[in-house]
């Protein structure tokens, strides 16, 4: 087909190493290892600990770097390739650094009908970052466009780190949330 499509350079594939920088931390804390061991013991198969351990890795390392994946594989005693496959399948594992406040805007249909596209643009304008671009210069913000957050009735919805604002978020509400973040009146990422 010779019908040209709009160029889409934003999504050009990167080599895995490029997309998955090594982080400085390389090892789990002793508490995290205990937590992972407990999960392995709870389930019929230790492999089941992969997803929970990756969540813990994200909490400990800030994002799921290659080093984090290796640590997960080692902690559970499973192949690194398996962990890489799992980590790259799920969107909630951040494979690149994110800001201290990771703003996730649902732009799916119900939210879109109530202005999610405009809200996402506002979020980008106020934070100065675009979706998938990594943290802002001050390290505070990153933005992600996400699919339905199951708050469709009262959309648009924004999730900040792990808290969902499913309350008809408009510009005013957004600024309030961002102010609270800046004041430190907010749980940090992944805690």
């Amino acid at each position: 087909m010779n019908h040209p499509l709009p160029p889409d350079t934003a999504n050009e594939p990167l080599a895995p190493g490029q997309r998955l920088p090594d982080s400085e931390r390389k090892e789990f804390s002793p508490e995290a290892l205990v937590e992972i061991q407990a999960i392995m013991a709870k389930f019929p198969d230790k492999l089941a600990a992969t997803l929970p351990a990756l969540h813990i890795a994200q909490r400990e390392f800030g994002f799921v770097s290659l080093a984090a994946m290796k640590a997960v594989a080692q902690a559970i005693g499973i192949p690194e390739g398996h962990v890489f496959g799992v980590a790259t399948f799920y969107t909630m594992y951040q494979k690149a650094p994110v800001g201290r406040f990771h703003l996730q805007v649902c732009t799916n249909i119900s939210c879109a009908l109530r202005g999610a596209a405009q809200l996402l643009e506002k979020v980008c304008e106020k934070t100065g970052v675009k979706p998938g671009q990594g943290p802002s210069a001050d390290g505070l913000w990153s933005v992600e466009e996400v699919e339905c957050l199951a708050g469709c009735g009262s959309g648009p919805c924004v999730q900040v780190n792990h808290d969902v604002y499913d309350e008809f978020v408009d510009e005013k509400k957004l600024l309030e949330v961002m102010e609270a973040c800046k004041r430190g009146d907010y749980r940090p990422w992944a805690k």
């Binding site: 675009k130 339905c148 708050g151 999730q159």
Partner: protein, 456 residues
Amino acid sequence: MAAIRTKPDPQIYTFPGFGTDKFPNLMLRGAGDLDNWHLKTYEQKHEGYVALKAALKLEPVAVVEEMKTSGIRGRGGAGFPCGLKWSFMPKDTADRKFTRYLVCNGDEGEPGTFKDRAILEYNPHQLIEGMIIGGWAMQCAKGFVYIRGEFLWLVEKLEAAIQQARDAGYLGKNILGTGWDYDILVYRGAGAYICGEETALLNSLEGRRGEPRVKPPFPAAKGAFGQPTTVNNVETLAAVPPILRMGGAEYAKLGTPKNTGTRIFGVSGHVKRPGLFELPLGTPMDFVVNELAGGSSTGRKIKAIIPGGASAPMFDEKDFDCPLDFDTVKARGSMAGSGGLICMDEDTCMVQATLRLIRFYAHESCGQCTPCREGCNWMEMVLHRIEHGEGRMEDLDLLASLTPRIGLRTLCPLGDAACGPMDSALQKFRHEFEHHITHKTCYATGSRLLSTVGAH
């Protein structure tokens, strides 16, 4: 620890007449009250664990029979009779003992659906009780609740509620003196819509990529960790205690003969009072949208309604009177799915709406089957160029020719799900697509549904 939520959510859970005989409140008792989740409240106010105590006095098969009598059909999307599904689980014989599992599907990712979340938030004990009764009926060794990763606060709440149930002796060893051991574990997903599909969910629960499995073997033969497993939606399992309390026959009187009971409908989009409404099956759609949800919020007429979550084909005006039950919605060419009604007013550009929906499927396709992986991407690209004023008339035939090559040709129903919105939009709103191609701009003049900043 993300604390258990303390700020109320603005969702509407009730309407005048709710809780009367005509509109019984079985699933949303205490919804809206953030303190409602405690075991004490459930026991004191909502007849909590009464059904469990009665069920444990019955033979397990008798409980399955009661579920069959109730006629309840799965609330997760496919509408499969729950009692029948439970009866598929293999029974122990003299020379073969099984380890059976019950899995609760709390992935809730279908756009337009936000009902399971309300149960987890306000009535977690009703789900726990339903899971214990289900576990007893199928003589399971363990129950797993798979909850989508975004619901961190609900995972923590459910774990707290499960601990309360353990402390009260409803879970653990020798439950209420029956000699039966059973416990419930919570598992948190990590953001993948496809993990709502039951076999993908099982893979994910085992710590793998959430890719659907080839069926057969069905989960009842080989499910979680290789053992016989039943997967049920949160709402289906939460309906078990009321069914046993009132009796299957009494429950079957609600709704219509083949579509019994109540279900939670979520109304979103361009309506005045979006929210969750628990109604008997067979309630007409226009009653739900106009009377309960208050009709259009924009002052303009509603033009299209998706009747069962994003995967269901759209309805236009002539089907707005459709009774919301599995069979009638299907007969009219859509599906009752997850019970999420998405309402769009006259000014909504259907090309943008369709593109947004298809983009969702293209993004969430697990990539195992070529028709789904490539087909959804192709549909997205073709719609993208129509939306951006570069479409050609042949594109409409191209789109129409793509769906029969995806639908029914894939491992799991996600491929089919993507075809529903595409086909129905093309059939019912073809003039908008044509207008887009000839005029290079939207037919409808409402606000944009797609942002100008990059996607995903």
